[in-house]
Every structure is written in structure tokens, then in C-alpha cells.
């Protein structure tokens, strides 16, 4: 009874009920489509007051293009004919803004069934549409991106245990254009038998939420019986976005053809292996050749020695013989023969030394280079006591080297310094070490003839000379030997010099200064 008092009429009740549904606008018209009622939600939705629209055509909320196309009239004609008409379309607000609306129109009939007008129920879906549009756009973008990169997409439903594949994914999994959900087994059938167990195990783990996101690479049999390499990548989707434990709800993933990439990788690998093999082969050939050359040089120089010894000894025998009556010219010739043979002897000796230095096995021990240098200096002084040479030898220079070879190297460098200071009345020869970039750099320095740095590159070649033999005697092998000894110790040798201002030979050794 109380209710009856509250609502004077039944239509009042419906009207209030509809108006409380704020998102639905209820508009009624007469059969002439003139608006007869305009509720509160309609006012809010379209911006017209009741006074502004009552008695005006419903056409005011239709877009000009729809009106031009007669859509407004047709909608109600259809509603009349079919009993109801549902549609989605753009409507226009008073301020001109458009609303995407979901509408339901139906005729109002009296007790006799005669149409007395229409009801149109309108819901504003603009916001939802824009969300849907966004989503659709995103999906479209993803699809475009996936398509343009040849990326296939798949979606695995954990409950149904089936895949939904994009067209490209279906194609890559060898399933043609299949779009219906497919079981994991169907895909596994297409995987190369060698890869199946790995994929199976990985997938089982992924189902438990373990290792999801890991790349999987395997071969898929294409319909023409060939195999192509593909890479899949999966992401897990959880019921509750924050919780990332246990089995996921869905797995989303991509699949891409990497056959070319794979082929390239294999090719690169094979190419590298081939290169490595070739380098090894060539190095071995080179080493063998080098060894052969050395042994040839060794035996050749050895065999050269014997006849040379005979030439000089027999020449000497002739010169010394009391019976031989040779002219002083001939005597001079024999002397020249002997000088030449003795030069050749020195050359052969140096050649032998050079090969010996290369062939001798390296035996490392801690050597007192200062003591070695001092002993060599004493020898030099003893052999030529008239020279006024000041040796400055740094104390306690020690290194982990082959002592025999380093003695040969130091002797060669100090003899060199001794020789090239020979034309100066006084000389100073220094042996020392200085740190450079944390490593010891050893040096032998003199203030002798020096040389033009333009020819420095010729210094360490065997039998190369920077000075004529008239200026300074020697075979030109000494520095070549030093260079080999230093390089056998994985070191480096270089020189700095100026004509008539002396020369300094620097070298490093692959050892800690002790």
C-alpha cells in the first residue's frame, strides 16, 4: 500500500526505474518520430534539456550523414516491422561531439496493437569502443609486426592443453593454414625426431612454469619433407598478474624460422674450423720447412768448412815451404786467399751460431745478467788493453732466461758497442734496465759511431750491415743472433741511435726481473 502511494502511476514507476539506470537514455517518440519524452540520462548524454527537444524530430541526435542516408527513418520502420531493432552507430550531442551508441528501438502499441510511437533505449559505448579500438589497433600492430618479420604467434591454453596458432605459426609448424586449436602432440609429430625428446622435456617444464622464456631451437618437418630450423620463445600468463609461481594459466609465444641464420652459423663455424685447420697446416708446413732450412744451413755450413780449411791450410803450407820459390806477387795472392778463407770461416761460424741459437732447446734459469756483462767487459778489456772504455754495469740485474743464450746475446751487444766506439779516444758503454709500462726493458748503450735511424730496419737481418767492412769489421750476423735469442724469449728488440752520437739497444724478455 505504501508503494502504491509512492508511485502515482505505473508509467511513473518505469520511468523512474529507467532513469536510475544512468547509462541508458530512454527516449520516446510519436509515430511521427517527434520526441515525446526525454529523461534525465538522455539530458546528460546528449546535452539537450527536455524543453529543447520535446516536439522535435529524433533526427537531432542522428549524424547528418545518417539522416542523408535515411537511416533514422529506416531504423524505426524496421523496428515497426520486426518488433525491435538493435544497432550500433554514431549519434551527435548538442555540442556536436559524437557518441558511439548501442541502441534498441521498439514500437509502443496500444491495447489494440496499434503503434502509438517508439521507445529508443541508448547506451553510450564511446569509452568502451575507444578501448576496444585501442586493443584492436594494438593487435593489428602486433599482427603487422609479426607478419612483416615472419614471426608466428601461438597461445597455449593450459586447461584445454591446446594451441591456438596464428596463420604464420601454423605454417611454420608444418600445419598449413590450420587455425583450429591443436594439441601439443600434433606439433611434436612435426619436430625432427632428434629434437623431440628435448622439446618434450622443455615443454613439460614450461607447463610447470619452469624455464619459460628460454629460447628453444629445433627442426620442423615441412609438408615437402624438408626440415627447417625454428626458434620459439614463450611467456607465461598467470591468473593473478602479480603471482608468478606454479603452473601458468596460459603460455604465449612466438615462433620464427631461423634456418638461414642457422645455416650461416654452421657455415661460419665450418669456415672458422677450415681456416683454423689451414692455419695449423700451414704453420706446421712452415715449421717443418724452417727446420729443414736450418738443418740444411747447419750441414751446408758444416760441409763448407772442410774444403775451406784445406784451402787455407794448403795455402799456408805453400807459403811456409822452404822449397817453394814463389814471387812476392804470388805470395801476396796466397795471403789474400788466406784472408778470404778466414773471412769465410767467420761467416760460416756465424751461420752455424745462428742456426744453433734457433735450434738449441730453451732452458730457463735465474741468471745474473750483471755478472755476465761484467765478465764480458773484462774479456774485452783484456783483449785490447789500450782502449779507454768506461763500463757502467748496473748491479743485480737478474732474469729467468736461458743463461747460455743470454750470454751469447749480451756478448754480441757489448762487443758491438766495443767495436763501434773503437774510433773514439774514450768511450762509455752502459748495461742496465729500466721499467717501462711495468715491464723491465734492458739496454746496452754506447757513445760510439751510432747509425742513421733510417736504416734501423736493416739492423737485425742476418748478414745485413750498416757500416762498410773497412769501417768496422764483422759479418753482420751478431745482431741477427741477438734478435733470435730475444724473440725465443718472447721479447722484442729495438734500437735508437744518431750518427756519431752513439746507439742504444733495448730489449724485453718474457720474464720477471728478479
Amino acid at each position: 500500500m505504501r508503494r502504491r502511494r509512492a508511485f502515482r502511476t505505473v508509467p511513473d514507476f518505469f520511468r523512474l526505474a529507467f532513469e536510475s539506470l544512468a547509462e541508458y537514455a530512454l527516449v520516446t517518440t510519436g509515430t511521427d518520430l517527434m520526441i515525446s519524452s526525454w529523461g534525465v540520462p538522455a539530458r546528460g548524454m546528449f546535452g539537450y534539456s527536455e524543453e529543447e527537444v520535446i516536439g522535435r524530430s529524433i533526427g537531432i541526435i542522428f549524424t547528418p550523414e545518417d539522416i542523408a542516408a535515411g537511416i533514422d527513418k529506416r531504423e524505426f520502420a524496421d523496428a515497426l516491422e520486426q518488433g525491435r531493432r538493435i544497432d550500433q552507430r554514431w549519434h551527435v550531442r548538442k555540442d556536436g561531439r559524437r557518441l558511439w551508441c548501442h541502441g534498441l528501438a521498439f514500437p509502443l502499441r496500444d491495447a489494440k496493437g496499434t503503434a502509438r510511437g517508439f521507445v529508443k533505449l541508448i547506451r553510450d559505448d564511446t569509452e568502451r569502443k575507444s578501448k576496444d579500438d585501442d586493443l584492436r589497433e594494438k593487435e593489428e600492430r602486433l599482427r603487422l609486426a609479426a607478419e612483416s618479420t615472419g614471426l608466428g604467434l601461438w597461445d597455449f591454453d593450459m586447461a584445454k592443453k591446446t594451441f591456438l596458432l596464428s596463420a604464420r605459426a601454423a605454417q611454420l609448424f608444418g600445419l598449413g593454414g590450420e587455425r583450429t586449436p591443436v594439441g601439443f602432440e600434433r606439433i611434436l609429430e612435426k619436430v625432427h625426431s632428434d629434437d623431440r625428446s628435448t622439446i618434450s622435456a622443455d615443454f613439460e617444464q614450461a607447463l610447470q612454469g619452469v624455464g619459460v622464456g628460454r629460447d628453444m631451437e629445433y627442426r620442423i618437418r615441412t609438408p615437402d619433407g624438408k626440415y627447417r630450423w625454428v626458434r620459439t620463445l614463450a611467456r607465461a600468463l598467470y591468473e593473478d598478474g602479480a603471482k608468478r609461481e606454479g603452473p601458468p594459466r596460459r603460455l604465449l609465444g612466438s615462433v620464427i624460422d631461423i634456418t638461414e641464420e642457422h645455416r650461416k652459423k654452421i657455415l661460419d663455424y665450418e669456415l672458422n674450423r677450415e681456416l683454423e685447420r689451414r692455419v695449423k697446416e700451414r704453420t706446421a708446413q712452415f715449421q717443418a720447412l724452417n727446420k729443414e732450412l736450418e738443418s740444411f744451413a747447419y750441414s751446408a755450413s758444416h760441409d763448407l768448412r772442410a774444403p775451406l780449411r784445406k784451402i787455407s791450410a794448403f795455402s799456408q803450407a805453400i807459403l811456409q815451404s822452404r822449397e817453394s820459390r814463389i814471387s812476392s806477387t804470388d805470395q801476396g795472392y796466397f795471403e789474400r786467399i788466406m784472408a778470404a778463407t778466414s773471412k769465410m770461416h767467420r761467416l760460416i761460424d756465424d751461420m752455424l751460431n745462428l742456426t744453433r741459437v734457433t735450434r738449441k732447446p730453451l732452458v730457463r734459469a735465474v741468471c745474473d745478467l750483471s755478472a755476465t756483462a761484467r765478465a764480458i767487459a773484462d774479456d774485452l778489456r783484456r783483449n785490447d788493453p789500450r782502449r779507454d772504455v768506461d763500463f757502467v754495469i748496473r748491479d743485480d740485474v737478474r732474469a729467468d732466461v736461458d743463461c747460455d743464450l743470454m750470454t751469447v746475446a749480451l756478448r754480441s751487444l757489448l762487443e758491438n758497442a766495443w767495436k763501434f766506439t773503437g774510433k773514439h779516444p774514450r768511450a762509455r758503454i752502459e748495461f742496465g734496465v729500466k721499467p717501462e709500462e711495468g715491464r723491465p726493458v734492458y739496454f746496452v748503450k754506447d757513445d760510439g759511431a751510432g747509425f742513421d735511424m733510417r736504416f734501423a730496419h736493416k739492423l737485425f737481418g742476418a748478414f745485413r750491415r750498416l757500416h762498410s767492412e773497412e769501417q768496422f769489421s764483422g759479418t753482420g750476423v751478431g745482431l741477427g743472433i741477438v734478435e733470435r735469442i730475444v724473440s725465443r724469449h718472447h721479447g722484442r728488440i729495438w734500437a735508437e741511435a744518431k750518427v756519431e752520437e752513439g746507439a742504444t739497444f733495448y730489449f724485453t724478455l718474457d720474464s720477471e726481473s728478479l
Binding site: H302, A306, R309, K310, A313, Q316, Q320, T341, H345
Partner: protein, 136 residues
């Protein structure tokens, strides 16, 4: 009369050694064999015929038929000959050759001189060897 046995396949070297000995006034008699085999035969024949054995053997290393190393081995391995001092006289200064000769029992390792004057040293060494008196 003591003598030495010089074993060398190189006739020039034999000649030079003789020249060197002569120049140094070394008046010792020298028997010559041209390879190891000839030398060994010579020594065994002398022993069998009760002829005197050389006071020293001076041998080269590289020789045809039987080389110096084998000759040293044979002499040192033979009780009838092993008392004879053996010295190597060669042009090889090869470390391994020197070590091998010493290991086999050579008393001296001498290099063939380039300079005739250096035969002085060879003579000294040979003289020293010859004075080593050992029972036959």
C-alpha cells in the same frame, strides 16, 4: 819403436795432419787406415802377428764402411785392444758428437785446425796420450 794409427778417409786431411806434425817437428811414425774397418783389421792383424800395437789411435768420425763411433766401440769392447788410447780428430764441433765419443770411451776430442800453426796443440795432446802406459 812407438807409432800412432791415423784413421781418416780424407786424403787431404791426412796430408795436412802429416804436414802439421812435420812443421811441429813431431817425428813419430804414423800408420794410416782409410776407414774404421781397415783400422780394426789392421789392429787385429798386428795383435795376431805379435807386431807392436800403436801407442794411440787418432780417428775421424765420418767415414765409409765403419765410422769413428763404431771403431771406438769395437776397440773399447775388445780386451786385446781396449788399452790403446783413442782420440777423435774431426772437423765436427757438434755437441752431440763430442758427448757420444766421450761416452764410448774416447780420451780426447780434437778439432782439425784451420791454421797449420794450431797443429802444435794437436801434437801436444797426442804426445800426452802416447805417454799413457798401459799393459797390452
Amino acid at each position: 819403436m812407438s807409432y800412432i794409427l791415423l784413421v781418416d778417409d780424407d786424403r787431404d786431411d791426412i796430408e795436412l795432419t802429416m804436414l802439421g806434425f812435420r812443421d811441429e817437428g813431431f817425428k813419430c811414425e804414423v800408420a794410416v787406415a782409410h776407414d774404421g774397418k781397415e783400422a780394426l783389421d789392421f789392429l787385429l792383424a798386428a795383435y795376431s802377428a805379435h807386431r807392436p800395437l800403436p801407442a794411440a789411435v787418432l780417428l775421424d768420425l765420418k767415414m765409409p764402411r765403419m765410422d769413428g763411433f763404431e771403431l771406438i766401440t769395437r776397440v773399447m769392447g775388445d780386451p786385446r785392444l781396449r788399452h790403446i788410447p783413442v782420440a777423435v780428430l774431426t772437423s765436427s764441433g757438434h755437441e752431440t758428437d763430442i758427448k757420444e765419443a766421450e761416452r764410448l770411451g774416447a780420451s780426447r776430442y780434437l778439432r782439425k785446425p784451420t791454421d797449420l800453426k794450431d797443429y802444435f796443440l794437436i801434437v801436444q795432446e797426442v804426445k800426452a796420450l802416447m805417454t799413457v802406459k798401459t799393459a797390452p
